[in-house]
Amino acid sequence: MEKKSDEVLVAACLRGETRAFAELGKGYARRLYAICLAIVDNAADAEDLTQETLVRGFTELASLKDHTRFGPWIAAIAGNLSRDLLRKRMNEKGPLAHEMDCPNVESERLMDLRRALRELPEQHRIPLLLYYLDGHSTESVAATLGISTAAVHQRLSRARRELRSLIESKEVRDE
């Protein structure tokens, strides 16, 4: 259904239908935000990157050959823009100060989680955050990343194990 829906919406966008832009953008905004957040670990940057991804995506929409693969295509744009920003920031001011930009006071455990997430490989971190930020739907994660549901399950299992391992090692160090 989703593939068909994306295909129809992309065709409508190419015809210049305004509502299709809104519908497609809204449908993917959350997922793109999750991808950007997984890479830059900064909410404000992730918001900006999501907008930039949508702008870039719609501008370049004509170059999309297979309309059924809009999800993986726009996810790749989000990933590339986020990595570009990360590289740019690294070159300009050194490593990002992740905690500084979070307005909420986070619990110790949550901070440990974020540190552990940062150490997680990107190929596990992105599906994990997509899963939790996009309503626990492995099908949605699979459609966004252009992989099978089984692959999503596998990556999530490994992500949880590695995450646990990282958190545990922190707990041991603290003790």
């Binding site: 935000y33 999501t50 949508l54 050959k65 299992s157 194990r161």
Partner: protein, 508 residues
């Protein structure tokens, strides 16, 4: 942690967020009931799961904002309209089989269109006789004729008017004939503003009325002989044409005549004569002369040799630029020279007395032998040959021909001149051979009941061996084809005159 725990922990990881199949769940529960370590692992994962949910919930606000922004993006002008896909991108979206099918259909359509344009529109092909009949009604015909000979294309233009006459333009000279005075002709030399006028009472042996240059009459003659037949349609200068061909003919090996007829007007637009044996190629069989003999030593075959190669199978004669019934200024066919032209010569000849005609007609053999002797003197110095058969000696004559004609000029021009010189020698040799053969013929000299004189014994003699060139009183060769004819005497200065008696008789 044993291997069972390892396996169970995989199940525990899989069970977070999704239910396990009943048998696996039951197996896991049984394990957890007695394995505290695995129970602890599951609790820890569930805590992490909750923590991740909490982490996600902290971004609810941001997610809401980006979704809202995305929904407003178009209206706010943030998202620009996508570019229209390019043609190649649109084509790329079409499935491969559809593209192949479309390409095949397009190719078929092109073939059909080309076929249509090529003349299918004009329906049936007219019979060649009908074409000739229609062409024969044309009052004026203009055409260009190009002939390949001796490594160059020679061009002339014909203007024929059925009622008035003809005009043949070679570029440097123009021949005009007019039907009002059928045995007169006017030759113009535009560059020199000169003319020669030929004014005869009857047709002479070298007189050309130009009538045989009428393309319709020639085509009709060919068609009568070789029955031109339609072979194919073609496209020619934007016109749909039908091509008719006659030949090749066994008696004239590989010669092919082809006439192209415009299907719209049903009139000829092009005539080709194809001959695989054109006169003298770059490697002539005449005295084994080759264009390479006249190129600078060791140099590769250059482009600018003044020689155009003839490719076998191509037409050696091309007639085109036909104009049927185009307006014609009949003053072009006038035998009066144009204003400003001066007379180079005016020849008034009356050929009523055919005996005189016979006497003034130079036998071809005598003329050919004189031309060969002239060439010999220019090649070998001032002494006449010991034997006229030497004209045929390739080993002796070729180096002399190359030495004489090979200079610092244009190689093609030199080669052409050498072939002409070689031709004079060759025809002299042929003349001698013909005379000797006819003398030895078993029936020579006998006149049959029919009175056929064609086998008369020729009387000829060569006495020039070793003589020096230049003496106008010393005869070196004489010839009489038949005893009814005059003698033709060649003197040592190479002038030739007719005589009623042979030099030998006069000496007696």
């Amino acid at each position: 942690m044993n291997s069972s725990c390892e396996e169970m922990r995989l199940r525990i990881e899989e069970s977070i967020g999704r239910p396990l199949p009943p048998d696996e769940r039951e197996m896991l529960e049984r394990h957890l009931a007695h394995c505290g370590s695995c129970r602890g692992y599951r609790e820890a994962l569930l805590r992490d799961d909750s923590l991740l949910d909490e982490y996600a919930s902290r971004h609810t606000e941001s997610v809401g904002r980006v979704e809202e922004e995305a929904a407003r993006a178009r209206a706010a002008g943030i998202v620009t309209a996508p570019r229209r896909p390019t043609v190649s991108q649109r084509l790329a979206r079409i499935p491969r089989f559809a593209r192949v099918a479309a390409a095949v259909a397009a190719a078929l359509a092109i073939v059909a269109t080309v076929d249509f344009i090529r003349g299918a529109y004009y329906g049936p092909i007219p019979a060649f006789a009908a074409v000739l009949e229609k062409a024969g009604k044309a009052e004026n015909v203009t055409r260009r004729v190009r002939t390949w000979a001796l490594g160059e294309w020679r061009t002339r233009t014909y203007v024929i008017n059925r009622s008035h006459g003809s005009r043949i333009d070679w570029g440097d000279s123009v021949l005009v004939t007019n039907k009002e005075k059928p045995f007169h002709s006017l030759m113009l030399y535009p560059a020199r503003k000169e003319f020669t006028s030929w004014q005869a009472s009857v047709a002479g042996p070298s007189f050309d009325t130009g009538l045989d240059e009428n393309p319709v009459e020639r085509l009709a003659t060919w068609h009568k002989k070789w029955n031109f037949a339609f072979v194919r349609r073609a496209r020619y200068h934007g016109k749909s044409v039908a091509i008719y061909e006659g030949g090749p003919f066994p008696q004239r090996s590989k010669v092919k005549f082809s006439t192209w007829v415009d299907l719209h007007t049903e009139l000829p637009v092009r005539v080709e004569i194809t001959n695989s044996l054109p006169r003298y190629s770059a490697d002539s069989s005449l005295y084994d002369l080759r264009l390479a003999d006249f190129l600078p030593p060791g140099s590769p075959r250059a482009k600018h040799t003044g020689w155009v190669d003839f490719r076998e199978g191509e037409p050696a004669v091309i007639e085109d630029n036909f104009e049927w019934n185009a307006p014609l200024d009949t003053s072009l066919l006038s035998l009066d020279p144009p204003p400003g032209y001066t007379a180079k010569s005016i020849r008034k000849v009356y050929y009523a007395d055919f005996g005189e005609l016979a006497r003034t007609f130079i036998p071809a053999e005598a003329d050919m032998i004189r031309a060969a002797l002239t060439e010999w003197i220019s090649l070998c110095g001032n002494t006449f040959p010991a034997d006229l058969n030497v004209f045929a000696d390739v080993d002796k004559m070729k180096p002399r021909l190359v030495a004489k004609y090979n200079g610092n000029g244009v190689p093609g021009d030199e080669y052409r001149a050498a072939i002409h010189g070689a031709g004079r020698l060759k025809f002299g040799a042929v003349a001698v051979e013909n005379l000797e053969r006819s003398k030895e013929h078993p029936y020579a000299g006998r006149r049959g009941a029919t009175g056929d004189t064609s086998r008369a014994i020729p009387e000829f003699s060569y006495v020039g061996a070793g003589c020096a060139f230049g003496d106008s009183t010393k005869p070196i060769f004489w010839l009489r084809r038949d005893k009814d004819e005059s003698y033709w005497i060649i003197y040592a200065d190479l002038h030739m005159v007719p005589s009623e008696t042979s030099p030998r008789m006069r000496q007696k």
